[in-house]
């Protein structure tokens, strides 16, 4: 004790505050405070708690029908593991059709949204043309129009265009996203114009500049817009429900809803279809987690 005290007093004589601070910091790094421990435990428990509904769905889906049925006691780990629920679904095959439909529709929506909104945002950001302010102003006004309030006339319009029950009828009305134009334009506005001027001197055209100069530095924002458009379209429910009345044209959310009642008391099967329905986007999310988190931040704050 005395030796330590002596050493510390000796050090303090030299550079007192610096040493004391460094020691305090090290101690904190090794042994977290009680408050920090509580925060970690609370946060960890909350995280686990939040996942319980999904875990419960997976757990039920891996039980046999008898074990999953309501009369049974609640247990999280199946006593007898069974993939019966999944087998039945795959034999029926509807899920694959719906997943394919969802993939086609969401891909059309995402690609078209990215192309159209990028072109428009570039046009608004880099050019002056007659009527620009009026056109841009009306698109900004479109930010305020709630899509769901338009379903009645939109439904009428799509049928008048003979697109009812087709991929185009499902996808095209979802493409109009004024907010994406707004977000992309704001991002393009922030890109310095020096590079473009240089490219222009080299004789590059506007598309070349967009492709070779603007897009390479817009990766994260394009990814964010693309991912959110895809998620939004994949999970869209009301519009596909109105348009795709034929089971072969249904998207995943609509198809799942259409058969949900039909499973009756087959809970393992119901939960298997829930797990299959959740899986594609959950996998996308886990793969692109970092991008998505950054995307929300970028879209929300910039």
């Amino acid at each position: 004790m005395t030796a330590v005290q002596e050493r510390s007093t000796a050090a303090e004589a030299g550079r007192p505050t610096a040493v004391r601070r460094r020691r305090l910091f090290k101690w904190r790094g090794k042994k977290p405070s009680v408050g920090a421990v509580i925060v970690y435990i609370a946060a960890g428990l909350l995280g686990v708690f939040w996942l319980l509904p999904l875990v419960w769905a997976v757990s039920t889906s891996l039980k046999s029908e008898t074990e999953a049925s309501l009369g049974q006691d609640i247990h999280w780990i199946p006593r007898e593991w069974s993939i019966e629920g999944y087998k039945v679904l795959f034999e029926r095959g509807d899920h694959l059709t719906w997943m394919l439909n969802s993939t086609v529709v969401s891909t059309i929506v995402t690609v078209l949204t990215l192309v159209l909104c990028t072109l428009a945002a570039y046009g608004f950001s880099r050019f002056d043309f007659p009527g620009k302010n009026i056109v841009f102003g009306s698109i900004i006004a479109g930010l305020m129009v709630p899509g769901q309030a338009l379903i009645i006339p939109l439904f009428d319009l799509v049928n008048a265009l003979h697109m009812g029950g087709t991929y185009w009828g499902l996808a095209l009305p979802q493409v109009v996203a004024p907010v994406m134009v707004f977000i992309l334009k704001r991002f393009f506005d922030g890109i310095p114009r020096d590079y473009e001027e240089a490219a222009k001197l080299d004789g590059a055209g506007h598309f070349r500049i967009l492709w070779n100069v603007i897009l390479p530095v817009s990766g994260p924002i394009m990814a964010a817009v693309g991912i959110f458009t895809f998620i939004g379209s994949w999970n869209n429910f009301l519009w596909p429900m109105l348009i795709a009345t034929d089971p072969s044209m249904m998207t995943l959310p609509v198809g799942l809803q259409a058969v949900a009642g039909g499973y009756g008391l087959f809970y393992a099967q119901t939960m298997a279809s829930a797990v299959l329905g959740a899986a594609p986007l959950l996998i996308v999310f886990l793969v692109f987690q970092k991008r998505i988190v950054e995307g929300v931040a970028g879209v929300g704050l910039k």
């Binding site: 319009l157 109009v176 004024p178 929300g300």
Partner: protein, 312 residues
């Protein structure tokens, strides 16, 4: 300002990109035209078409529509079922917005403190957001099962409920159905607000906290005097986005409760859907849509002002 005016004026052409020739100035239009075409067809046109329909007796059955003036509008304002649906929508918005804002702040604060398990928490809180609504409802209807469902089981275990009188959730009377959907919605959509807050928190300069610690502020004071005020703008944005999203409630309510019991949870878009697609009355449904439209528009104007303030 005075200093600036004294400086020699810079020719506009030197600051802006070259837009001298007439030909170049039209080029921009070609870039925006494809989007504008889509926009005009699928957003502007339906907006006016809907307004026009609201003055007609247009029907889904396809018979010729005729102009009936304000009849639909008068009917809408006198329609008890419409008022009920609007009230239920307001109720849902009122119940769902506070937890979706407050809990997302709390979760974001927790995650911001527990950074070493941040990846796990971000995953856990945001994962439900990417799950399709029909899957969310399947899982929650299963959890809410009155007899032998997960929720009632644990309520009984905790002694909060008598085993003989199982609580009915999704068709529960006296607002229980509504609350069941609110809870499901909070679980499903909280992740988005949470990420917005987390991102905002991570932009706060840590030196602000260090400085206030030296001044002797504890974490409670730091929370109320530093963190929350710095999050003001995020909070305003989250509230507005949340209000708009909640007013548009349809999917999970329609699937889970079907509007029941006794239309206690029949919301605005659901009634629009019933009037238009079950009652075949496109004209009347359009008038109803416009009432909701105007409500959302009013809130959106606040949103727009938030957006444009950021431009400054």
């Amino acid at each position: 300002m005075t200093v600036k005016t004294e400086a020699p004026p810079v020719p506009a052409a030197m600051v802006r990109p070259p837009t001298d020739t007439k030909k170049q100035s039209w080029t921009g239009l070609w870039f925006v035209l494809p989007f504008v075409a889509f926009y005009a067809l699928f957003l502007v046109w339906p907006t006016f078409l809907g307004l026009y329909y609201s003055f007609t007796d247009k029907s889904l059955t396809g018979r010729a529509a005729s102009w009936i003036g304000l009849d639909n509008w008068f009917e809408a304002f006198g329609d008890e079922r419409a008022w009920n649906a609007l009230w239920n929508t307001a109720e849902f918005t009122l119940y769902s917005t506070p937890p979706l804002v407050v809990l997302s702040i709390v979760f974001a604060l927790l995650v911001n403190r527990a950074r070493r398990i941040g990846w796990f928490l971000r995953m856990a809180f945001f994962a439900p957001f990417v799950v399709p609504v029909s899957v969310v409802t399947m899982i929650w209807i299963w959890i809410y099962q009155p007899d032998g469902g997960l929720l009632n089981h644990y309520l009984e275990l905790l002694g909060l409920q008598n085993a003989d009188t199982n609580q009915i959730w999704v068709q529960g009377e006296g607002g229980v159905a509504m609350w069941s959907v609110v809870i499901t919605t909070v679980w499903w959509t909280l992740g988005f607000n949470f990420l917005l807050y987390l991102a905002a928190l991570q932009t706060i300069d840590p030196s602000v906290y260090e400085a206030s610690s030296i001044d002797g502020a504890n974490w409670w004071q730091q929370l109320w005097r530093i963190t929350l005020p710095l999050l003001n703008r995020t909070t305003a944005m989250v509230i507005v986005l949340q209000l708009i999203a909640s007013l548009r409630i349809f999917d999970q309510m329609y699937i889970m409760t079907g509007g029941g019991p006794n239309r206690e949870s029949e919301v605005a878009i659901h009634y629009i859907y019933i009037a238009g697609f079950e009652g075949f009355r496109i004209g009347y449904a359009s008038a109803l849509s416009y009432v909701l439209f105007v409500l959302i528009l009013i809130i959106s104007i606040f949103q727009f002002r938030l957006f444009s303030r950021k431009e400054d």
